[in-house]
């Protein structure tokens, strides 16, 4: 499966190299590049915009802290997403807020969209998120990485430290459950 993750790892490695060379702006570029996918991943797993904002902020600080430990044989975004997923899981464990649903995510729709499209996009987003929050955390994570972050099986396996077969099986079960939930919700 071809990856649709934004950019290439070569670009990321170049930014990291610049940052290691003392260019703080390179790290700023990394944050700008990945803030949206990291925030979206956190939101889909946590279901709350405030929590997702906090986690996204923490993720980039963790990256900053641990950058010296990053092994460049792995793709940077896999390492970044892994930190994001782990932080989200830790947050859920600490707060036990897995069942909370935040419907105040209406700024998701593009600004250019007309009111009708904006309303429809919000309704769909809320409906899908409500169904996602009924899945268990592992199912929600694989759905998020596959459908909202466009990760391939191998990338998901790398991020979650699982083998591809497990990823496929987990994704299939998650899809089956989510499909049933969305059918009931609709």
């Amino acid at each position: 499966m071809a990856s649709n993750v934004i950019g290439t790892d070569e670009q990321d490695q170049a930014l990291l190299s610049r940052y290691r060379g003392g260019d703080v702006g390179a790290f700023s570029s990394i944050v700008l590049k990945y803030q949206k996918p990291v925030y979206n991943a956190a939101f889909r797993v946590l279901g709350n915009v405030d929590d997702a904002t906090d986690i996204a902020q923490i993720v980039f600080l963790r990256v900053f802290e641990r950058l010296e430990n990053y092994d460049s044989q792995y793709r940077f975004f896999s390492w970044l997403y892994r930190i994001a997923i782990n932080e989200a899981i830790d947050f859920l464990r600490r707060t036990s807020r897995e069942d909370e649903l935040d419907e105040d995510n209406d700024y998701a729709a593009p600004e250019a969209a007309n009111p009708e499209h904006r309303y429809a996009a919000k309704e769909l987003s809320v409906c899908v998120q409500a169904a996602l929050m009924k899945l268990n955390t592992n199912e929600r994570i694989v759905i998020t990485l596959r459908h909202f972050n466009d990760c391939s099986y191998s990338e998901i396996a790398e991020i979650l430290a699982l083998d591809e077969k497990t990823v496929k099986s987990r994704l299939f079960e998650a899809r089956r459950r989510l499909g049933g939930l969305l059918k009931n919700l609709s």
């Binding site: 790290f27 700023s28 925030y39 915009v49 600490r94 996009a121 987003s125």
Partner: protein
Amino acid sequence: MMNDTQNLIQKVIDDLATAEERQALAKIVREDETAAIEFERFKQLSATLAGVSSLAAPPALHAAVMLQIENRNSSQLISKPTVFVALATRTQYQNSPASTSQTIFSRMETVMSEIKKGFFSSTMNKVLVGGGVAAAAVIAITAGGNFPASNQDTVGTIAPAQRYRSDQSVTANVQPSANGGAGSAQVSVNTDNAAANSASNAADRSAAKGALSSADKAALDAADRSAAKGALSSADKAAMDAADKSAAKGALSSADKAAMDAADKAAAKAADKSAAKGALNSADKAAMDAADKAAAKAADKSAAKGALNSADKAAMDAADKAAAKAADKSAAKGALNSADKAAMDAADKAAAKAADKSAAKGALNSADKAAMDAADKAAAKAADKSAAKGALNSADKAAMDAADKAAAKAASKAAN
């Protein structure tokens, strides 16, 4: 575990299946209703999830991250309130390629300025807050609490925790002092307990002072963190509120505009339709009127023509009749005139002949009278019979006879 069909379904959904695998699944779906339902549900799910738009990152996220990173990179921020770092670093980020940070920092500057006023404008507040936190820190030390906090207890606030650890040089300063006190105590044990107590008290005071200093710093750090967190939260919230309001306002304006445009268009369309309908109706009416008129006109024409024809015919008939009648009358009149003329001519001729023949005046009068009577009778007879010729002939004959008779009578009388 997934079976082969499920594996095929997922491959097709994820666009990983080969042509042969797609055909195999199509065959399975045709034959197995359960597989068909599951495949359809997976397709619908995939389409639904593809339609979910991604969320925009919070406007202040990037700025907040870079602010905290800048704090960590700076070793001179311990005694400075963190909220001022944003202002100090603003110029640097304005010059960076990340141009979006300009507006974010501009917003944060305003928000932080307001926060700063609220939290730090009052010296009394600062003293009270700092004193309270310092007292709590001293209590924590005397109670043998977990201070300084371990790394595990500083979850979520990494930057301030590390900064605090770097401040342990203050605690380290206390440690040698305590050791020194202990050394003095060892000496004092051999010489003077009072000195030892004094040294011990001094060490305690030093330790307390150090602790207070640390507590002050911790209080300031806590205040900084709180202020920074508050500022960031406020900034985030303000930015998000502003974004929401702006988006809502924009959406409302767009909605209004769209509604007005739609209304205008609908009105225009309706007007067009109405006009078209009106025009159509008018046209219909006009056409119908025109048709009616034309029909009426045509009818009129037809009628007129018919009437004309009839009239013509009638007229012609009448004319014919009138003509015939007139002809009859004319003929009669002509016949009469002819008869009169013939009679007069005959009378003239008879008179002339009688005069020529030296007929007496009485004979002439009688001949005239007889001729005239005969002519009148003949004319009347000819007119009545419409036979001018007969009348003429009769008149002529009668006139001639009468003239002959009158002439003969007159000649006889004249001869006598």
